[in-house]
């Protein structure tokens, strides 16, 4: 039978597989088994490269340097603030109310804890009132009416060597987490 087949004069067909077999063996002994191991290498490489690409893409969106306004400012001396009054002079520039009571001074965030609007200090009714949804806060920052779920946040407040008040907005203290008792959340004067 093999003899019979070989005598058939179909020149391209018998030649093609033989030639293919020769070349693959000649190149690097690439048989079925090693082909699949190379294939898996290829896939691992492809997945790693794709994963790396998307990781880079994500990381690219997180800048290393932020061009944002300075978050720490000097707010004058304790004597600039009258006991029992809410100072709104840093509200527009830094988003901070500075309040002095009998014991000391604290810095309240002007961001409503409901959805982030800016409440107004109503000196006649002694409360912060948010124009967006009507949340109300006492001068201490404690919420007592409207949808706000928690008190206003306080910022870190310390004294410089010359006695000036420094307000640091990168550090905040939340009443519901018990952070208002932190020594830097309240400036004793």
């Amino acid at each position: 039978m093999p003899d019979g087949k070989s005598t058939v004069t179909k020149s391209p067909e018998p030649k093609a597989p033989a030639a293919l077999g020769k070349t693959t063996k000649d190149i690097e002994g690439l048989n079925r088994r090693s082909f699949f191991s190379w294939l898996s290498f290829g896939w691992v490489g492809f997945v790693a490269a794709t994963g790396g690409f998307f990781t880079m893409l994500l990381r690219f969106l997180f800048p290393n340097v932020l061009f944002e306004p300075v978050q720490t400012f000097r707010a004058g001396f304790p004597d600039d603030y009258i006991k029992g009054e809410v100072s709104t002079k840093w509200k527009d520039k830094y988003g901070v109310w500075i309040i002095r009571n009998d014991l000391g001074i604290y810095a309240l965030s002007t961001v409503c804890t409901h959805l982030g609007c800016t409440p107004n200090w109503l000196s006649s009714s002694k409360k912060f009132k948010c124009p967006c949804h009507g949340s109300g806060f006492k001068a201490t920052g404690i919420n007592f009416e409207g949808p706000a779920p928690r008190p206003l946040e306080r910022y870190r407040i310390v004294q410089a060597d010359n006695g000036e008040i420094i307000v640091d907005k990168t550090q905040k203290y939340q009443q519901e987490k018990g952070q208002w008792s932190d020594p830097e959340a309240f400036l004793m004067v």
């Binding site: 969106l61 061009f67 982030g116 609007c117």
Partner: protein, 264 residues
């Protein structure tokens, strides 16, 4: 010879090499097969069905809300590109450029067209969804296309939201402030969201104010110019690019899934 003289100018043009090279298949379609081939051979037309049953396009049944949405999308694309010639996405210029567009640039209606068109598109997309729901057109084999449509609805709302910020007026700033605060409450990926504290090793928090979902959205810890630029890029390039891919799939699947509003 007499036959050639009877041919109209259009017919002659349709036999020219220029026509045949542009429109594959060439010639004026004269029978059903040729008409079908002329649709299938055009990259724009092939998204649409070759032919429609007469009852399927009745306005009282379809409301034409899908078609209206696409039409408004085209108006928004054209007017939006025109607006980009004047608008600069910086805190210094954004608001005044919008005023300039409305009051000084010729055809100040262009900005109004874009703004009202955006409102209209949200409405037509909702009505389209409502019609598809009421006629049961979400049922198999169209369930996948319903899913694509939900993504398109989401993208429409995101386009609307990102465009809302660009005038940089009080409305815009507070909308993005509130939107950003909502991102802050994202589960796991928002610094104040549930589960964010779980993604920490010891005292080191990985999800903080400078690395959470809100941060990547507004490009900073506080609302500012980075947020304006990010929303501008998303509004003008990112989201339109994505929505066009989904729209192509959506229209193509309408054809493949049995055409518009016909029981299958």
């Amino acid at each position: 010879m007499s036959e050639n003289n009877k041919k109209s100018f259009l017919e002659k043009a349709a036999e020219s090499q220029v026509w045949k090279s542009i429109f594959r298949g060439g010639g004026v379609p004269r029978n059903r097969r040729q008409r079908m081939m002329s649709v299938l051979n055009s990259v724009f037309l092939h998204l649409h069905p070759v032919r429609l049953p007469k009852h399927a396009v009745k306005l009282k049944f379809t409301w034409c809300m899908g078609g209206m949405s696409f039409f408004i999308f085209l108006i928004l694309t054209i007017s939006g590109i025109l607006l980009m010639f004047y608008y600069r996405p910086t805190i210094e210029y954004a608001y005044t450029d919008i005023i300039d567009l409305a009051e000084q640039v010729p055809f100040g209606i262009m900005r109004e067209l874009h703004r009202w068109g955006a409102h209209a598109m949200v409405i037509t997309v909702w009505l389209h969804m409502f019609r598809v729901f009421m006629t049961g057109s979400y049922k198999p084999p169209r369930e996948f296309n319903w899913g694509v449509g939900v993504v398109l609805l989401l993208l429409t709302l995101l386009l609307s939201f990102t465009g809302y910020l660009l005038p940089w007026d009080q409305l815009a700033i507070w909308a993005i402030t509130v939107g950003g605060n909502m991102a802050r409450a994202t589960p796991f990926l928002g610094s104040e969201g549930p589960g964010a504290a779980l993604l920490a090793i010891g005292d080191i928090n990985f999800i903080t104010m400078a690395s959470d979902a809100r941060f990547i959205l507004i490009g900073g810890r506080f609302m500012g110019e980075a947020a304006l630029l990010r929303f501008y890029v998303l509004h003008c390039i990112g989201l339109p690019f994505i929505i066009m891919i989904f729209m192509a799939v959506h229209f193509w699947r309408v054809r493949k899934d049995g055409g518009i509003s016909t029981p299958v």
